[in-house]
């Protein structure tokens, strides 16, 4: 080996060393020096998550970070899909991840692994109970049990004596907690509560859901208040109430908004609509992660985005067509 080749080889080696040093130094900044954030959140087929996605993208643009939204295609294989997406996300070594802890049993392991790998994690939407012990930066969202309690309070105030909580995703900790909070506070007020779990074979078939609710109302005529956990369900419940001739006796309130639920609030067919503001959850989640990475600043403790209580008094502002994409309602 002559001198020249040895020099070239040495040069290449040195170059290789310096690039690898450079890479490990500045975490995973991309070529432009931007931080990279990956989100693992809910399916975009749900208007709720459509609004959340808009929030994350707007925040990423405002903060000047590289961002990607990943999500399962639907709700039917949620545990496995979420666990896999978190794994894929962390193997790409982003600087931060924004994760909805919808199914803690499936996701906690991945979240812990991400934190151990030095990835900053912000938990949003679901996971108010355990974000601290997982080592997340913060939590942005609502306390599901407290939302259920708020629904009970509003129904009790309008004279409910027998409430029915309709759970369209039985087994999901978030929906179970809302029904549980509703049940506890209705019962604390000395009133009765029924929980109606809708079977999987009715999902995506509004006719079956309407008839199921009609059946439950017909079978027990003492039910005079319904609490639904999603805007689509609220529409189905209102239809069951109207078609079944229960309009005089049964009042409906819901969590989460759509244009039709907001119009129903305006028209007095829905007594309240509890908005957890998914756009804000996405926006703050990404913004907090970006500001922490860039400046080392962050909120202390959880950030509460819900429930924002929408009733006849304040619905007009919410119904402004220009705010539609921010509400997730069309």
């Amino acid at each position: 080996m002559n001198k020249v080749t040895r020099m070239i080889a040495g040069g290449i080696l040195a170059l290789a060393c310096s690039t690898s040093l450079f890479a490990s130094e500045g975490q995973a900044k991309d070529a432009d020096g931007n931080y990279e954030i990956i989100a693992v959140l809910g399916p975009l087929g749900d208007p709720f998550f459509s609004a959340m996605e808009k929030g994350t993208k707007d925040a990423a643009e405002a903060a000047g970070v590289k961002f990607e939204y990943t999500a399962p295609n639907g709700f039917d294989n949620l545990s496995q899909d979420l666990a896999r997406l978190i794994e894929v996300g962390l193997s790409r070594k982003p600087d931060a991840m924004v994760i909805g802890n919808f199914i803690p049993d499936a996701e906690n392991e991945g979240i812990r692994a991400a934190v151990e790998a030095g990835i900053e994690v912000v938990v949003i939407n679901t996971g108010s109970d355990n974000w601290k012990e997982l080592g997340a930066l913060t939590f942005v969202g609502e306390d599901s049990t407290a939302v259920g309690r708020k629904a009970a309070e509003l129904h009790l105030a309008s004279g409910a004596t027998h409430g029915m909580c309709i759970n369209h995703v039985p087994g999901n900790p978030g929906t179970e907690a809302r029904c549980q909070g509703f049940k506890e506070d209705m019962e604390a007020g000395g009133k009765k509560v029924t929980v109606l779990n809708l079977p999987y074979s009715s999902q995506g078939s509004p006719q079956q859901i309407v008839q199921a609710i009609t059946g439950a109302l017909t079978a027990d005529k003492t039910i005079n208040a319904i609490y639904t956990l999603g805007s689509g369900l609220a529409e189905n419940a209102m239809q069951a109430v109207a078609d079944g001739g229960f309009a005089e006796t049964v009042k409906v309130g819901t969590s989460d908004v759509s244009r039709r639920t907001l119009e129903a609030v305006r028209d007095g067919k829905l007594v309240f609509d509890l908005d957890q503001q998914p756009y804000l959850q996405g926006y703050y989640g990404v913004l907090i992660a970006a500001q922490h990475l860039k400046y080392g600043i962050q909120p202390v403790g959880a950030v509460t985005t819900g429930p924002l209580i929408i009733t006849k008094e304040n619905v007009d502002k919410v119904l402004n067509p220009e705010v539609v994409p921010y509400r997730g309602a069309m």
Binding site: P43, L44, G45, D46, P47, S50, A51, K54, N73, G74, P170, L196, N197, L198, P199, Y200, S201, S202, Q203, G204, S205, P206, Q207, Q208, Q211, A212, I213, T214, G215, A216, T218, A219, D220, G232, E235, N236, Q239, D243, G244, G245, S258, R259, R260, V324, P325, G328, A329, M330
Partner: protein, 342 residues
């Protein structure tokens, strides 16, 4: 068909011809399904006593559910008798609902144009499913799985791209609403569509040459071909009919529930197969009756709605449906064996 029964039924009073009549009836492909429907109806009538299941509202409730399912399940049954499956019906329902809601609700297209576009979509999906299945020889399970996924993705992506959310409102009034979402009290006009679809399908299958071709195609494709039947055309036609039926349900749902959702309808894939199997259609093809499937859809409706009139925990609904499916398949097997022996 009832006309069949009356023609075969002798006017006589002697016991041997009465026995023959009973035997003939029992051997009809619908008989097992009829017994199933009757059993669950009586079961729910008894356990919901006084809860309103037997009222007009309760009856219309399960009929509405059965109707929307039956409109899809009956053509799916013809396709299964012809030896193929269609998993894309759910995506067609969802895509139709957003197509109509976006075209009319957002862009202001006249409703007839939106419906025509949806029909074109249905024919297109049916042609794709049919031609690819026939030309490539791939199982229709795979081909329609592809169109199910592709169409669901396309509907969701396009809707979100165009309007920013997968859930679009639309309210239609007047004659079009009456035609697809008209109501008499709690009963929907979809029940009439369902009965019409079932009767026409029954007539086609048992009274026309095309019906013979369907049964021959699903029973023994090779001999059907040798007998000069264009089995590929039969199959393509059946795929188109299934997709068009899904479009009809999509339009009915969009008007009944005042809007479209890209993700709606997937549950119909499974539920339509449940209804056809309860209705006595052979999964292997070649055997079954649209009237049986009509009864299968009724059974599905009675169980799925009836359970909520019992006041029991609805967690049991699926268990009951599973057990029922097993019972239905076993009874159908029994009666089919009787029929074959005849």
């Amino acid at each position: 068909m009832s006309s069949d029964i009356t023609r075969q039924a002798p006017p006589a009073t002697d016991s041997s011809s009465l026995g023959k009549f009973l035997g003939d009836t029992m051997r009809r492909p619908e008989f097992g399904a009829f017994i199933g429907t009757l059993t669950v109806f009586v079961f729910f009538a008894v356990v919901t006593s006084g809860n309103g299941f037997l009222t007009w509202r309760g009856t219309a409730g399960w009929l509405n559910v059965a109707a929307e399912l039956g409109i899809v399940a009956v053509p799916v049954a013809l396709l299964m008798i012809g030896g193929e499956l269609d998993l894309s019906v759910g995506s067609v329902i969802g895509a139709t609902s957003v197509l109509v809601a976006v075209a009319t609700g957002i862009y202001g297209a006249p409703i007839w144009l939106s419906i025509a576009l949806a029909l074109a979509l249905g024919v297109g999906v049916g042609l794709f499913n049919g031609i690819v299945t026939v030309r490539t020889g791939l199982p229709s399970f795979i081909v329609t799985l592809v169109s199910m996924l592709a169409l669901a993705g396309l509907a969701l992506g396009l809707t979100r791209f165009l309007v920013g959310t997968p859930n679009v409102s639309l309210s239609v009034e007047g004659a079009w609403r009456f035609l697809f979402a008209g109501k008499w009290g709690p009963a929907s006009i979809s029940i009439i569509w369902w009965v019409l679809v079932s009767l026409v399908a029954g007539w086609v299958l048992f009274r026309t040459q095309f019906g013979n071709w369907i049964q021959a195609t699903g029973g023994d494709r090779q001999s059907a071909r040798e007998a000069g039947i264009r089995t590929d055309r039969v199959k393509i036609t059946l795929f188109i009919l299934t997709a068009v039926a899904a479009v009809l349900v999509g339009v009915i749902q969009t008007m009944t529930f005042n809007g479209g959702e890209a993700t709606r309808g997937q549950v119909y894939v499974f539920n339509s197969i449940i209804a056809t199997v309860i209705g006595g259609v052979l999964l292997q093809g070649g055997y079954g009756s649209p009237i049986g499937v009509m009864l299968g859809a009724m059974t599905f409706g009675i169980v799925n709605v009836g359970i909520f009139y019992t006041g029991w925990s609805s967690d049991w609904a699926q268990l009951l449906l599973g057990l029922l499916l097993l019972a239905a398949v076993l009874t159908n097997n029994l009666f089919r064996r009787l029929a074959m022996r005849a």
